[in-house]
């Protein structure tokens, strides 16, 4: 895999930001950004599916360990990684899905990237907050939490993707 060191840095940055900053921000129960999903979004488009799932699993386990959430992040991130090829096919297109590019707005087009990130982040947040609630007693509240947190996550990932330093070739 190309850019291995770069991805290790992205992984470390997103996981540490999640554990030390966003887990302690305490803005509101409706705004709980899950920034580490950005790492899964930025993995190369043509990546081996099994390896992608393993990356999702490892990311989730790491965040769970640091946050004391006992599997919750792992459930969401493994599922997000599993459906990522379908998400890319649906939003960016099959041609790009078979190439080995880092899915940044500059590489795949801003419009397509926004759809891709919005869809992946929404799915991730819905899975996370539904499993966390584990009840239908406050379903609207759970969906509202998922929506607010998905929006916050999406904006942060978008910001990160825009300022991400792009090298000459990919």
């Amino acid at each position: 895999m190309h850019r291995r060191g770069e991805y290790v840095l992205v992984f470390a940055a997103t996981v540490l930001l999640q554990a030390f900053l966003f887990d302690n921000l305490n803005l509101s129960p409706y705004l709980y950004p899950l920034i580490y999903v950005g790492f899964l979004l930025l993995l190369p488009t043509g990546m081996n599916h099994a390896l992608l799932i393993l990356c999702g699993f490892v990311t989730g386990v790491t965040v769970d360990f640091l946050s004391g959430t006992a599997g919750l992040h792992t459930i969401a991130s493994t599922a997000t990684a599993f459906i990522r090829p379908a998400t890319i096919n649906l939003t960016i297109g099959k041609d790009t899905a078979n190439e080995n590019v880092m899915p940044l707005p500059i590489n795949v087009g801003r419009g397509k990237w926004l759809k891709y990130a919005a869809l992946a982040v929404s799915i991730h947040c819905i899975i996370f907050f539904c499993f966390e609630a584990a009840t239908t007693a406050f379903l609207w509240y759970t969906l509202l939490r998922a929506a607010g947190s998905a929006l916050a996550t999406f904006l942060l990932v978008w910001f990160a993707a825009v300022i991400y330093p792009v090298r000459g070739s990919h």
Binding site: F20, H49, F57, T69, A70, T78, F138
Partner: protein
């Protein structure tokens, strides 16, 4: 055999996903607040130093307010001590050992955005911290209790955790009920079991009662709304929390000296007994 190999080759990623996801769901479903606190206590051995740095930065913003609160509480305590001293001078009153011991700690990590929130304090077993000690905010309001300790740190179950329970009694009233967080609003808890013939109004003060961990009459919060249950037999009260859970800095630790004996003998009869998540 060839077809079987081809099948596994074709669906290897799906099988991998099912195995990993099932493992994660199984682990999450079987976890309790105790296992989550244990996990957090383990990770804190690695992360506590960094949390401490962030926490010390945050302290600068809350220090003034907390200092004022602590000074007010100190003044109240001095007044009580003075009264006690006068009473001892004028009469021979045997003074019993205190039932509750107080100490202080600083919160180094805290969350309010989840459904099962915990916070971490910078004191552990080497400082005399034990599981089930009550935690009060700087102004003396209910904030949580210690769930798991390591040598230097303790993981505390926040009042904003769906497994948290405490008995509450309206000030000046004989009625009491169970207080818990329903996971919706980080500023409010819910109280049930107050009969509809009781006199309750918005603004009433709620204090701890019949708790095996918290001292009696500890401030929980004030009634913010009153509505009847569906069958009309009891009130569902929304309680505006006294502790500012999103700004916990310095906290008070309270050790009830007879906790072990009481918990062993009659723990299950208390409103704050952990039925869903026994200690181990």
């Amino acid at each position: 055999m060839y077809r079987l190999v081809q099948f596994f080759k074709k669906y290897s990623s799906v099988l991998l996903f099912i195995i990993l996801e099932a493992g994660a769901i199984g682990y999450y479903a079987s976890s309790t607040s105790y296992t989550r606190a244990t996990l957090l206590a383990s990770s804190n051995k690695v992360t506590a130093g960094i949390h401490g740095i962030f926490s010390s930065i945050g302290d600068y913003f809350t220090l003034g307010r907390e200092n004022r609160m602590l000074m007010e509480r100190l003044a109240e305590t001095e007044t009580l001590l003075s009264a006690l001293s006068t009473a001892r001078d004028t009469a021979t009153i045997p003074v019993a050992e205190p039932a509750y011991y107080y100490s202080t700690a600083t919160v180094i990590s805290n969350s309010i955005a989840r459904q099962d929130n915990f916070f971490v304090i910078n004191k552990g077993t080497r400082d005399g911290v034990e599981e089930n000690m009550a935690i009060l905010s700087a102004d003396g309001s209910v904030a949580g209790y210690v769930r798991k300790c390591s040598d230097k740190f303790a993981v505390c179950m926040s009042a904003l955790n769906r497994d948290f329970r405490i008995g509450g009694q309206l000030k000046g009233s004989e009625y009491f009920g169970s207080v818990y967080w329903d996971g919706t609003d980080a500023r409010e808890m819910t109280m049930v079991d107050i009969p509809t013939y009781a006199d309750v109004s918005v603004g009433d003060t709620l204090l701890s009662a019949y708790s095996s961990r918290f001292p009696p009459d500890t401030f929980i919060g004030t009634v913010s709304s009153v509505k009847e249950s569906e069958d009309g037999t009891y009130y569902i009260l929304r309680i505006r929390l006294g502790a500012r859970m999103n700004a916990l800095g310095n906290v008070l630790l309270v050790k009830y000296t007879d906790y072990e004996e009481l918990e062993t003998l009659a723990g299950e009869y208390f409103a704050d007994y952990d039925t869903r998540n026994p200690q181990k």
